[in-house]
């Protein structure tokens, strides 16, 4: 389940994603000359995933659960759910093809890899324009680096990342730049780890007033839409640019079709769903089983006004589950850890609470393509096995509640969680675990205190899910460098020499095949330690939408985490509104004449 998205966790995760490596990179390219013999690549022949039938026009209405505290995308309060709507309208230089995973050009037209293994050269598309009509040039990238390094933005993580990871951005001419990263990486990874979005230099005045001045300023962007109306506390409207520079560009054409996107603030999800059913919102994400099976019912569905769709995707799975803290002396015993894993009835959770829609997550890094070790299976629910293990570990007495003890010690742990969504699952697992004599006390903490509690490693067992990245990240989660220290992501405090060594090799490896082999080995060793008990995953996205919304024939892409995302540069904006159908639908809603009930299941990428 990918629901726990504590943004702080994300920030932290990113902050540990590489080694620092300082070198004055700009010395590399004396006089800002490009090295000779570069092989420029421009992959414009890959299959496109939008539909040629798409027509422009119409209004798309969504709900968001809270109004953003600022329109800045960096600095205090900017790390909120709304930010992605703004950032998705800043087109990256290149992106990864959502179906074939090859690199495709967006803001850049060409790119070339330097022989040092950590630098990529880009040619910026000369057509590219900011929303105010000013051309996008190399200076905007240089300025982006300056801004991200500036103290005035009050964003330490950005300051650090754009100094220690992205070492430099070099301008060769007005439309050619090089981005220098800290360490060599496989080619495709370079684009992801060492990327930078341009910022309109002519718009910003970087001084100590920056944060307050730009709180509610609408920053120029390069994407298809721009914020056009802000009703504070109520809604934010985006309007499609009339002459967007990239309308005819490969991979971006026939996309981003609706004229207007309205994001309406509806705090309560139940109320939001009622709005949707009344036709005041056009599409609604129905990932939660309760919504899909119980709430998405009624005349509007039966009469075919609202359609339902399930789309099976293939994306990196959030490492969600239980993290056992080895600092706890009872959990330090691997037999106890194994017994806990054997006492957790995830099958029941999946069958009953998740209605069989989800699957058991096999291991920490699942869905990372060839990097994932698919031979690993999680420990199955088996009470007899658990009881046997506990007896071997000397947990023989039982108290009046049936909980095991040894001397003065009681086999009792707190399961902390920071999201009420997990509560039914935690309660169900704890009830079952009692049978083997293990007491699991549900311990809910409000998200921020939960995060603090976990990152300071004060938990016994923590239930959470990490956000995903392009490649497995072992060092931050499992290396002893980060064990027994607050504010690091090794929340199990795993401290194992053999695993450390493998992780070191993995981090230094530049050969893809070697890294994959090492990833498999590390994953297996970690699974054997039973410090992480995987919970569940879903390999689909699903939604309900009014019948006037149209999707391409393939519906979405392999990488689509949502079907009706409006702006995302990889899989967003594929839908369009059929005005005639909308007109007919609204008319027949009055007369009560219905259409065919429709539920689509797309298993192309299952």
């Amino acid at each position: 389940m990918k629901t726990l998205k504590i943004s702080l966790v994300l920030i932290y995760l990113l902050s540990l994603s590489g080694i620092s490596f300082s070198e004055l990179a700009s010395d590399k390219f004396a006089n800002n000359k490009l090295p000779g013999n570069l092989i420029w690549q421009t992959n414009i022949d890959s299959a496109e995933w939008s539909s040629k039938d798409a027509v422009t026009g119409g209004i798309m209405r969504y709900s968001i659960s809270s109004f953003p505290p600022t329109l800045r995308t960096v600095g205090p309060d900017s790390n909120n759910a709304f930010r992605s709507y703004l950032l998705d309208n800043q087109i990256p230089l290149v992106d990864i093809h959502p179906n074939t995973d090859v690199v495709i050009p967006l803001l850049a037209t060409h790119w070339a890899y330097d022989k040092d293994g950590r630098t990529v050269h880009y040619k910026i598309n000369p057509l590219a324009k900011w929303s105010d009509g000013t051309p996008v040039t190399a200076d905007d990238f240089l300025f982006a680096l300056e801004l991200n390094r500036s103290k005035h933005i009050v964003a330490p993580w950005y300051n650090k990342h754009y100094s220690e990871q992205v070492l430099d951005v070099i301008k060769h001419d007005s439309h050619t730049i090089s981005i220098v990263g800290a360490t060599p990486k496989p080619k495709k990874d370079l684009h992801v780890f060492y990327s930078i979005l341009p910022r309109a230099k002519h718009f910003h005045q970087l001084n100590s007033d920056w944060i307050t001045h730009y709180n509610w300023e609408i920053e120029p962007n390069t994407g298809p839409y721009q914020v056009s109306k802000v009703k504070k506390g109520k809604s934010i409207t985006f309007t499609r640019k009339k002459d967007w520079w990239a309308t005819e560009l490969p991979y971006l054409r026939n996309r981003f079709n609706v004229d207007t996107v309205i994001l309406k603030v509806v705090r309560d999800p139940n109320t939001a769903f009622k709005y949707f059913k009344r036709g005041e919102l056009d599409a609604f994400n129905l990932t939660l089983p309760k919504l899909w099976h119980d709430k998405a019912k009624g005349p509007m569905f039966d009469k075919g006004f609202i359609h339902k769709i399930t789309y099976h995707n293939q994306i990196e799975q959030s490492a969600a589950g239980l993290f056992l803290n080895l600092d706890n002396e009872l959990l330090a015993d691997i037999r106890v850890r194994k017994a806990i894993a054997s006492s957790l009835n995830f099958k029941q959770v999946i069958d009953v609470i998740l209605r069989g829609d989800y699957q058991r997550l096999p291991t920490f890094h699942t869905g990372y393509g060839s990097y994932s070790n698919t031979s690993i299976q999680p420990i199955e629910f088996d009470l007899n096995n658990a009881i046997q293990l506990l007896q071997q570990a000397g947990w023989l007495q039982k108290d009046s509640h049936g909980i095991r003890s040894k001397g003065n010690q009681r086999l009792s742990f707190k399961i902390s969680y920071g999201n009420k969504l997990y509560e039914p699952q935690v309660l169900l697992l704890a009830e079952e675990a009692k049978k083997s004599g293990i007491e699991l006390i549900p311990y809910y903490l409000e998200a921020t205190s939960f995060y603090k509690n976990v990152i300071e490693k004060k938990h016994d067992i923590a239930w959470l899910g990490w956000s995903t990245g392009l490649r497995p990240a072992y060092w931050q989660h499992f290396h002893s460098d980060n064990a027994n220290k607050p504010q690091t992501n090794n929340i199990t405090n795993l401290n194992n020499k053999a695993i450390d060594e493998l992780i070191n090799k993995y981090r230094k490896g530049t050969e893809e095949s070697l890294r994959i082999k090492l990833a498999h080995e590390i994953e297996k060793s970690i699974a054997e330690q039973v410090v992480f008990i995987p919970s569940t995953m879903k390999s689909f996205t699903r939604a309900a939408y009014w019948r006037w919304l149209q999707l391409p024939e393939a519906h979405a892409t392999k990488s689509s985490s949502q079907l009706f995302d409006p702006f995302n540069s990889r899989f967003g904006g594929l839908f369009w509104i059929n005005g005639k159908i909308k007109f007919d639908s609204l008319a027949s809603q009055k007369t009560g004449v219905g259409f065919k009930a429709t539920t689509i299941t797309n298993t192309q990428h299952q």
Binding site: D294, I387, L427, E431, L445
Partner: protein
């Protein structure tokens, strides 16, 4: 005014609505206090191989104790089914054979509608726990919470209030200002902040709420004892050398008891509502504590399963109505107008 305490009671008894409400409420409390005997997944009596077992009163009995193949707590409902045609062994289950935290997932996806055959008389909640059982255990917690809170608040409130009225002077002034400031601190924010830092338990919640709830009583007690302290019998007691505390305990409080008693039912109602409200907002007692507020929240979020919301709203209304009827009757019973005649 008469000091004869039997008279108000006689009058209270004569007020039928209040009197029967009290009896009903006391019955409900008695049922909830003995809930383990009526609402429990453990059997009352198991007769196995010539021996009697009383699982409700004993430690956990494992399946192997009754010839089953598992080493964890016996599922007595299952055992009863197994022994249905066994002439030698038998199981006697409580009236409702479920406890407040167990999830019954044997029928269909929770929540399941009320069903007499499954013995879920009010249905189950969103993770399959019996609603009736949770209501009963939740009521026990709510009423005990309200009574404990009342006790703490009244002890502090009555004491401080009496002292303010009796001592007067600087003490009175100081506490007046203190209470004015203290009552301006927004209580709900404090509870929200506290419960984001710690997971509140029964006692910590009582203490937090008492910290902000003791002030109400002080004003009434201050006025009452101020009035009393100017009377002749207090002066007489002073003249005889009685200590301040003796005067307060022996003279002032007994003479102001009617003020205190009339407030009790309303404080109980307030206590129950407060706990329910906090649980509803998930700032109350931690899961899986059975709670009316948590059920109410589930009910509101799941209006398509009406049995949840109907059960909890009905129970809440009945209990609050009973308490209010009792309160009205008490107020009438203690009304001095019955005794003072104006000429």
């Amino acid at each position: 005014m008469s000091l004869d305490s039997t008279k108000p009671w006689q009058r209270f008894k004569s007020l039928k609505r209040g009197y029967y409400s009290l009896l009903l409420l006391l019955t409900l409390i008695a049922i909830s206090l003995s809930a383990e005997l009526i609402f429990n997944s453990k059997a009352l009596v198991v007769y196995y191989n010539g021996d009697y077992h009383f699982p409700v009163f004993s430690d956990v009995k494992e399946g192997t104790d009754f010839g089953l193949d598992y080493q964890y707590e016996t599922n007595y409902r299952q055992l009863k089914k197994t022994w249905l045609n066994d002439p030698e062994n038998f199981v006697l289950l409580p009236l409702v054979p479920y406890n407040a935290t167990e999830t019954d997932l044997s029928h269909s996806y929770p929540p399941t509608a009320p069903n007499v055959n499954h013995q879920h008389y009010l249905g189950t909640d969103t993770i399959g726990r019996d609603i009736l059982v949770r209501l009963v255990y939740g009521f026990r917690i709510a009423i005990l919470f309200a009574l404990t809170l009342l006790l703490v608040e009244y002890i502090v409130g009555v004491l401080v209030g009496s002292l303010m009225g009796f001592l007067g002077g600087r003490f009175d002034l100081l506490f007046q200002r203190l209470i004015e400031i203290w009552s301006n601190i927004p209580f709900l924010y404090i509870v929200m902040i506290m419960s984001s830092l710690i997971t509140p338990g029964f006692w910590s919640l009582v203490m937090i709420m008492a910290l902000f709830g003791w002030m109400n009583m002080t004003w009434y007690m201050r006025t009452a004892s101020y009035r009393e302290s100017s009377r002749d019998y207090i002066k007489a007691a002073k003249a005889m050398g009685a200590s301040n505390f003796r005067i307060i305990y022996k003279h002032i409080i007994p003479n102001t008891v009617s003020t205190i008693v009339t407030f009790i039912p309303f404080s109980v109602a307030a206590g129950i509502s407060a706990l329910t409200a906090l649980d509803f907002l998930s700032f109350g007692l931690p899961a899986p504590t059975p709670s009316w507020g948590e059920l109410l929240k589930q009910g509101v979020d799941n209006l398509e399963y009406p049995w949840i919301i109907i059960s909890v709203v009905t129970s809440l209304s009945i209990v609050l109505l009973l308490v209010t009827f009792i309160g009205e009757a008490i107020r009438e019973a203690f009304d001095p107008k019955h005794e003072v005649y104006y000429e």
